[in-house]
Symmetry: C2
Subunit: 337 residues, 2 copies
């Protein structure tokens, strides 16, 4: 049976929510005939205004912590939406923990998670160390790590919903090798160290297998503005690689603008790919090629996995590693097949 | 005195956090000499591993709910960062509630807030109705509304940290009137209805004072792609207004691209301003003029106000309305003074 809420009472009595609340809270600004109508509706429907608080005192609410770096809010919005929607469907409360330079260190967050006795944790695999994961694990808190693959999973009770960035980079570079292109740069991104390290390993593996050494792991800078300034200066004396791979939109856009002002033609003189997709890539001219990941689904799958682990961990024991696929999106910054 | 944490123990014993955890949890994978060293450190520092849970059972943790629309995550990232940092400094837990079409309606969120018995609420003023605010108020939950001004504040115990969008639009339009420009369009944004309505009122007021009627409140569409398609088609038979005001980056970019392809020169033939600033506006060519709001500060101020209201509401009784300033950022899509 559906639980009767204050909304049902308001509908039945044909009054506003505020009026029902006023009656419940014995406010004296309600007209007598309205008060009677609301009380009749309460009785008819069997609504118990205090049942909520009483029920809560007895039954435990399930709470899940989401931990992410503040810097990544804007980029992980869709993953967060997937997480939140599934949490909502299963009636879980979400506690948000963020890490930010100088204010909240990872160890404070771990302590706060342990203290608040949450039932499960969703981690974004950006700046957690293996050791920190292990501490949470030792406190018996079920966890799902979302984003990239956990490199060396020593700990047991951890789910992982990930994109295999190592494989993605390996396959991408090999495709360009087949087209005769070996002058390839990979641009560092300082926000996602674990993902960058996996991309780099994939590129290095591809080079090594062809008997070459990968030398063009380049570092621009953290911001668009400094990347752009760097590149504008760089292009006065150097020419761009045949293929430039960036992790994120802003560095691809900086590259695009700097090329344009240095009169390099894209994709004739140089091609550029942003690994992460984003609506802004479509808004640029030329539009920027990228990879599509089902971000929202990643979040939804991660939260669903955690809810299963919380209910019956044995059931999902052998299915805690879920790889998410990706597809290349051909736009104007790369040569079509 | 500083509370002794597991981190102090690890440092004292010169072992990892995981090792300390293992000793506390009686794991038998720890070497005997290490175990003794950790126990000595625990005794020396007076660390009580169970004190956390015991302490919590007695003292109440303060929890604040943040409520926002899922669609606005990416846009409100900086406000959220400000909120989170201040909450962290004051040791408050954050419960995240989101609303999203079809999955979690506002009334569910309100119910869930009331049920989880949080101490205070931060609301983003995008899709809350006055009536919903009133329900929360009747449950005696202190609130701060962040973003835009609450139009008609019937309820008492509510703080408001806002930008006066009505005034902003009024002043902006009057400046263009002084330059002799009266062909002005305001582009609707469906994500922020309350902010849009305030902008519209400001523009209408400016027109009315000059004895004119404002007729160009235009609706493109929700997404960049459909806005762009609409404009590309529109420009085949119409020319752009002298000044186009959009709320958000994506609609300004759609306008830019469509103008470019229809061979309208910016800012000679038409000028464009995006009210909200964003890093992508700087990345476009031409770069797009906008307004700067201290987003992070707005979040920080809102959370600080709420923490004050929670401790001693009387102290801030007459200072619950905090207006945040703004400055115009002249870029390439508008004519300089």
């Amino acid at each position: 049976m559906k639980r009767i809420t204050i909304y049902d009472v308001a509908k039945e009595a044909d009054v506003s929510l505020a009026t029902v609340s006023r009656v419940i809270n014995d406010s004296n600004v309600v007209r007598e005939d309205t008060r009677i109508r609301v009380q009749e509706a309460i009785e008819k429907l069997g609504y118990k205004p205090n049942a909520i608080a009483q029920g809560l005192a007895l039954s435990k609410t399930t709470t899940i912590s989401i931990v992410m770096s503040e810097k990544l809010f804007a980029y992980n919005a869709k993953i967060l939406n997937g997480l939140m929607d599934v949490a909502k469907i299963y009636n879980y409360n979400i506690m948000l923990h963020t890490t930010s330079k100088g204010i909240s260190k990872m160890q404070d967050v771990i302590e706060s998670i342990i203290k608040s006795r949450v039932d499960g944790v969703i981690l974004f695999n950006d700046n957690f160390s293996e050791e920190e994961l292990e501490v949470l694990h030792l406190y018996q808190i079920p966890m799902v790590v979302v984003g990239s693959k956990i490199e060396d999973k020593k700990v047991g009770n951890v789910g992982n919903v990930y994109v295999d960035f190592e494989k993605l980079a390996y396959e991408l570079v090999n495709e360009y090798f087949e087209k005769g292109i070996t002058d390839i740069s990979l641009v560092e991104d300082k926000l996602n160290l674990s993902m960058m390290s996996q991309l780099r390993h994939g590129v290095e593996r591809a080079f090594k297998e062809k008997g070459m050494e990968f030398k063009k792991y380049v570092s621009y800078d953290e911001t668009y503005r400094s990347s752009y300034d760097f590149l504008s200066e760089y292009f006065k004396t150097h020419k761009p690689s045949e293929l430039v791979i960036t992790f994120r939109d802003s560095q691809a856009i900086a590259f695009l603008n700097a090329c344009n002002e240095a009169h390099y033609q894209i994709p004739q003189d140089t091609q550029v790919i942003s690994i992460l997709d984003d609506k802004y890539l479509r808004m640029m001219r030329p539009t920027i090629s990228s990879f599509n990941f089902p971000d929202y689904d990643m979040g939804a799958i991660a939260m669903r996995l955690l809810t299963k682990m919380l209910v019956n961990d044995d059931e999902v024991k052998d299915n805690k590693d879920i790889e998410i696929g990706y597809t290349f999106i051909q736009r104007q910054t790369t040569q079509p097949e």
